[in-house]
């Protein structure tokens, strides 16, 4: 049974594309056949995060409009053989996508893949609604910050009303992925705790990814962090999240505060 999963957030810049790449790669590393679909028509970036930017020939819009066959547009990852990318168009605008066209492509992808991971554009307009339209599973990405949490709440409302599953009264699995978490700032009371965000958004927690140089390095190199540095805390969070998505009873590890040299020397305790 194939699953369509949307990675969405409302707000931009919270880590949707990075998380799509990392979760998708982690699922593929676990042996699943995975395709990542970039819905950010006009502003594609998933190709860059995956290091496939120089291999894009055809894209989602070409397939939707019948200018290219699906296999022609799929790009196979060079590191994990069960990971594919269906890139977004860089030149067209989002009006090039229609619900019927997207439905057809998703149906075709369902025949070939275990996981169809849709990277949503920011916002709540057509691109975002189409990315979530056919989802069975949703990963809501949020930073522990007021505007991101508000937008995530809005997106959760849309998942509950605008998706095909919602309209049919069928359940849609929703998961919260907290990214850009900074344990030091949480300890100082400058950033909301994971529990605060969970209490407000009230959907199950999939993982907590700390703000980390490993993620930026992975993006710089065009390699998902789960492949580039699997032992890093960020990669571990994504790998555990992928196991949860596969139905395993994997734990959620929260980022821990590493005490620096100064605070060790002076024995200063961080505020609870």
């Amino acid at each position: 049974m194939s699953k369509v999963m949307v990675v969405t957030s409302g707000k931009g810049g919270v880590g949707k594309t990075t998380s799509t790449a990392a979760l998708g790669a982690a699922l593929a590393q676990a042996g699943q056949n995975v395709v990542l679909v970039d819905f950010d028509v006009g502003l594609r970036n998933l190709d860059l995060i995956l290091g496939a930017e120089r291999r894009v020939v055809f894209d989602l819009v070409n397939v939707v409009q019948g200018d290219a066959k699906l296999p022609q547009a799929l790009i196979r990852d060079k590191r994990v053989e069960s990971l594919y990318l269906l890139p977004a168009s860089q030149t067209r605008d989002k009006d090039a996508l229609t619900p019927e066209g997207v439905e057809g492509v998703i149906a075709e992808l369902r025949e070939r893949f275990d996981w169809i991971v849709c990277d949503s554009p920011a916002g709540i307009e057509k691109g975002a609604t189409l990315a979530m339209r056919f989802a069975d599973v949703a990963v809501v990405v949020a930073n522990p910050e007021v505007s991101s949490v508000r937008d995530a709440d809005r997106i959760i409302g849309m998942l509950d009303s605008k998706t095909l599953r919602a309209e049919r009264g069928e359940p849609l699995e929703k998961h919260l992925l907290i990214t850009r978490h900074d344990p030091a700032r949480v300890a100082r009371g400058e950033m909301m705790k994971v529990e605060d965000v969970l209490e407000i958004l009230a959907i199950p927690l999939l993982g907590v990814v700390a703000e980390s140089p490993d993620v930026l390095t992975a993006s710089n190199l065009g390699c998902p962090v789960t492949l580039h540095n699997p032992a890093s805390p960020a990669a571990r969070a994504y790998l555990l999240a992928a196991r949860k998505l596969l139905g395993e009873d994997a734990p959620v590890e929260q980022p821990v505060l590493k005490r620096g040299l100064m605070s060790r020397l002076f024995g200063r305790k961080a505020a609870a």
């Binding site: 007021v146 508000r150 009371g189 400058e190 705790k193 605060d196 407000i200 505020a271």
Partner: protein, 87 residues
């Protein structure tokens, strides 16, 4: 440093963020799909009033105050002297 700041300086910003969000989202969820409720209310209230007297749309002030438990919608309409004189 005044006396008050002695008690408040330990107040960190994260709990403030949490409380603001809780209040805001309670309202936004209630208005789900009817985000323009205030605009609709304003429009309809003004229509009712306009049936009885001329309303200058530039002299209408709409204020919405969202509280923890109660929200108030205040619409100030300047009544022309002529209407008052007649009443």
């Amino acid at each position: 440093m005044n006396l008050l700041s002695l008690f408040t300086r330990n107040r960190t910003s994260a709990p403030v963020a949490r409380e603001r969000l809780q209040v805001l989202l309670a309202h936004e969820r209630a208005l789900d799909g009817r985000a323009d409720l205030v605009a609709v209310l304003q429009q309809e209230i003004l229509e009712v009033i306009a049936r009885h007297m001329p309303v200058d749309r530039d002299k209408v002030l709409v204020k919405l105050e969202r509280g923890d438990h109660v929200s108030t919608l205040a619409i100030d309409i300047e009544m022309p002297q002529a209407v008052l004189a007649r009443g």
